[in-house]
Amino acid sequence: MANKQGFPSDLVNSLIDAANQKIIPKGDFLLREGETEHNLYFIKTGAIRVFYLTEYEEHNIRFGYDGSFINSLSSFIKEKPSEFYIQAIRKTTLLVISKEKLREIINKNDDLLKQYCTLLETAITQQIDREIDILITSPSERLKRVLERSPTLFQHIPLKYIASYLRMKPETLSRIRKDP
């Protein structure tokens, strides 16, 4: 759930300039399991979730809201079918950049390429933070960590989805918010 403030600005501006705007209604899927991710999305306004579907439930693994980038990164990089679904939680205005366009931009000069590396490094460290989240036994501690990274999370994403991300029941999340 990175926000725009942390991003290298030249790269972000170049990507935004080259992107196509798209408005998607609440509930629509950007990507389904089995489809290959060809795009990177920048969210202007709205809310997006990335989830993994098992036989029994949907597991939310990532969110995106105003000012963040999102996609099915592993599928994007490997050019293989996605294990995840990407869905709009609310009506969302997106900027869409294709992988080809992205490649064109980052190969323009060394600076842009370096900035892309910084972006990927951020994504990697966020991924590791998330791995640690899941290993932490205390629900309150898990909540605390996520709020440190994304203080405005509850303003953008409904509680039931956050509960799934934190791997706890919505009732548990409600309770620990009131009495942490």
Partner: protein
């Protein structure tokens, strides 16, 4: 009711495979048709599938648990049905493409829950797990291994009957789903 164990598993695997093919077909329909209902209390296609998902949520982990516990010991060439298990299995059976009307337990009524294309994807994953469990059960005693049922924790069924009931139940509701499709009003489709 007595049947050769391998023959039973094979028959159930065949019905499961047919279910998979049917569900893949349903995936190609658009969301409007999948949510279409004949009237307020009838189920849409997605509601039929979600009903099956709800049963799977109980029975698949339960079957998996009993296979791991393996209290019934190793396989026996013949499966002998229990009285109650046979009753439930036959209740679900589809005879000559006809369905007997039945009421579903309240907690397994999917009506009005939010359903989308992931409903069918989830069902396909459950079918894949079911196929795996059927294959695993070739090595256990289908008569002596028991499972609970969703209606009451006090009642146990023989694993062979649980599988029969569960698989016939799937067949029944998929037939219901396809009948919903047949009843689609052609005029309404044209104006959509």
């Amino acid at each position: 009711m007595k049947i050769n164990s391998d023959k039973l598993i094979q028959e159930l695997l065949t019905i499961t495979e047919n279910a998979r093919i049917a569900a893949e077909k349903l995936k190609s329909l658009d969301t409007f048709d999948l949510n279409r209902k004949k009237d307020a209390i009838s189920w849409s296609i997605l509601e039929c599938i979600e009903h099956l998902n709800l049963y799977g949520d109980f029975y698949l982990p339960e079957i998996e648990k009993q296979l791991i516990n393996n209290k019934g010991g190793s396989k026996s060439p013949v499966f002998k049905s229990g009285i109650l298990g046979n009753y439930f299995a036959n209740l679900m059976r589809v005879e000559n493409g006809k369905l007997k009307k039945m009421k579903s337990p309240k907690d397994k009524n999917p009506a009005n829950s939010k359903l989308t294309i992931t409903t069918i994807d989830r069902f396909l994953k459950q079918l894949s797990l079911l196929k795996s469990l059927l294959n695993q059960s070739r090595e256990v005693n289908l008569t002596k291994t028991k499972t609970s049922i969703s209606l009451s924790p006090l009642i146990k069924l023989r694993l062979g009957d649980t599988f029969r009931f569960f698989v016939f139940h799937i067949e029944r509701h998929l037939l219901q789903a396809f009948k919903v499709l047949e009843n689609v009003d052609v005029k309404a489709r044209a104006t959509h």
